[in-house]
Symmetry: C2
DNA sequence: CTGAAAGCGCTAACAG
DNA sequence: CTGTTAGCGCTTTCAG
């Protein structure tokens, strides 16, 4: 980045061949004499050549970059970007998404470009950036069920894949989890354990996953003769889990089982229960959701429903790649199966 | 992204002017007749033109993108990228960094390109990507004091700015906090409160900030006649904070003050203390560090030393921008002042 | 199997 | 104030 970077021309001169040949060697195109290939490789080495991305992009029409869009609902006012960002990252879930995405992209020397779409202005920005060719496609993680971003992307013809099914049909591929099935497993585990006075702490009900987990849980409970399940809504945070549990405990002091819609809230519930003199799992069994990193490390270790976030995220990236390359044209969906992980809390 | 995107040529034809003129209007260069300006603007509107980023980059030699490098020590084995990523994002600190960075970049229509440098291979990848011109410069957040990435970047001549002073001198600008001073404030607050049996939970001692906070705390304590302060090392996580506090409590049951090197650990300490029947702050006062989002929301609300992470991060981005634009050539450093925020825990 | 030549879409002198 | 003219560095036909 200091002195003038060597170009293909320089390497070609050094190797005594044409630019085209050097280009072929670098891009691994066959039909190049092995001897010349070696000569070129050495010339590249000597000159310290690195292909210029912009020039390459200009002709290939590909940036080797995908946008990772973190998208909120339409009502966040401008200027709250900072708070929005902080909130998103506070959830261990997002880190796992990034890990999965990078796991797929990196071996292919692609990178995620971070974008936030928490307001109408921000969404237009994102759209405009994408149409300028800042990225070859977009991976969208929405924090709300009624996020307008997916539809905007679809209308703009930008290749995009979503994490989680959009609330309204949008012609885009997505990956998701069988949330209801996961909630069913949690309910069955609690029931099998002998719990009879079961309550649940849901995630924010504006999120599809929260709704599905609650629905799946209620269904299973109802089928087992428990038509009524006390519910408290949380916000997927530790504190909200504590608050929700406090409320439930006040109204139902005899509770003996809790299903929390994510691990952070389950952890919060455990803490409140212990503060109020309940032993977990002896007096009250607690089941979480996600199997995030805290689940295994907190005390007591959380029994939870595993969501393979990393795998889902890397699949999301793989799908996008297929769309970008034109290998896949019609939207598809890949639904992952949750799995109960039994530890100490239930 | 579906049909052929319109080019400058198309807009020029539509407006009945030359490409150059359109370019001038779009880039806001003066010396263009207001009337023509309007005509061009309309032509842009009609054609739905969006400048091609690759083409522009090729000539301006600028991508409007900066790499946000999360960098670990040299010993992480390949394949652990996923765990590394998850760990990094689990810390609320990182979200604040991103928020600050984006806060600076977005108004300038720039974006952060996420890169991880947790192994030697990954570092070479990052370096190679940067030399290809994937980004105009790099913002580096290291998880360890002896991170080799800064030096590699400096050697490669890549414009870069660091978050936190590197352990060995590297000719790069950086932003940092006066950690020792923050720790001093924490110590003074505890002492002023009347605490006499004070312990501290440090961050991982491989991190410069942890070392500085510990040193500053010890210094102040020593000057106040407390030559010995029991120490337990934590890992900046809630669990590690709980574990550290448990250990300290076992050996020093009469503790009446705790300084934890970040809020997460302070929160963990509070929980352990309450579980063991200590009231916070009545029996034991607890001071955290960072003033991250949990500090205000957890119970009891944490008295803590505020680190203005967002501001530091956006300053870091601003410095990088100056370096990229050539407005600044020599490395500089900006040190921020911490500030004690008194809430409930101490 | 290799080279010559034609752009990709844009900016930036340089004339006028 | 506007148009003409060169490229930026690379890939990719198309000849040979």
């Amino acid at each position: 980045m200091s002195r003038q970077a060597p170009t293909l021309e320089d390497v070609a001169r050094e190797a005594g061949v044409s630019r085209a040949t050097v280009s072929r060697v670098i891009n691994g195109v066959r039909n190049v004499d092995p001897g010349i290939q070696e000569v070129v490789r050495q010339a590249v080495e000597r000159t310290g050549y690195a292909p210029n991305r912009a020039a390459r992009s200009l002709v290939t029409r590909r940036t080797q970059t995908v946008a990772l869009i973190v998208s909120g609902a339409g009502d966040t006012s401008e200027g709250e970007q900072s708070a929005f960002t902080a909130r998103v990252f506070a959830d261990p879930f997002f880190g796992r998404v990034v890990a999965g995405v990078v796991g797929y992209l990196r071996p292919r020397s692609m990178h995620p470009l971070l974008m936030f779409a928490e307001s109408p202005e921000a969404r237009q920005q994102v759209l405009s950036d994408l149409r300028q060719g800042s990225a070859d496609g977009a991976l969208v993680v929405s924090t709300h069920a009624d996020d307008p971003m997916p539809a905007l992307l679809a209308d703009a013809g930008v290749p995009a894949v979503l994490f989680a099914r959009p609330s309204r049909p949008v012609p885009l591929s997505y990956v998701d989890l069988a949330h209801r099935d996961g909630a069913r497993q949690a309910a069955e585990h609690l029931l099998k354990r002998g719990c009879r006075r079961i309550v649940t702490v849901t995630g924010p009900l504006g999120v599809g996953a929260s709704q599905d987990r609650l629905a799946g849980f209620r269904d299973t409970m109802a089928r087992s003769g428990h038509p009524y399940v006390p519910v408290a809504e949380g916000g997927f945070t530790l504190d909200s889990g504590m608050a929700a549990m406090s409320g439930l405990l006040a109204e139902h002091p005899d509770v003996d089982g809790v299903f929390a819609a994510n691990d952070l809230m389950a952890q919060g519930a455990c803490q409140v229960l212990r503060e109020r003199g309940r032993r977990v799992p002896d007096d009250v069994a607690v089941v979480g959701f996600d199997d995030s990193s805290v689940a295994a490390t907190c005390r007591p270790a959380l029994t939870t429903v595993r969501q393979p976030v990393e795998e889902m995220a890397s699949t999301m990236a793989a799908l996008l790649d297929e769309h970008i390359q034109g290998l896949r044209t019609d939207p598809t969906s890949v639904i992952f199966d949750p799995e109960l992980v039994v530890r100490e809390s239930a």
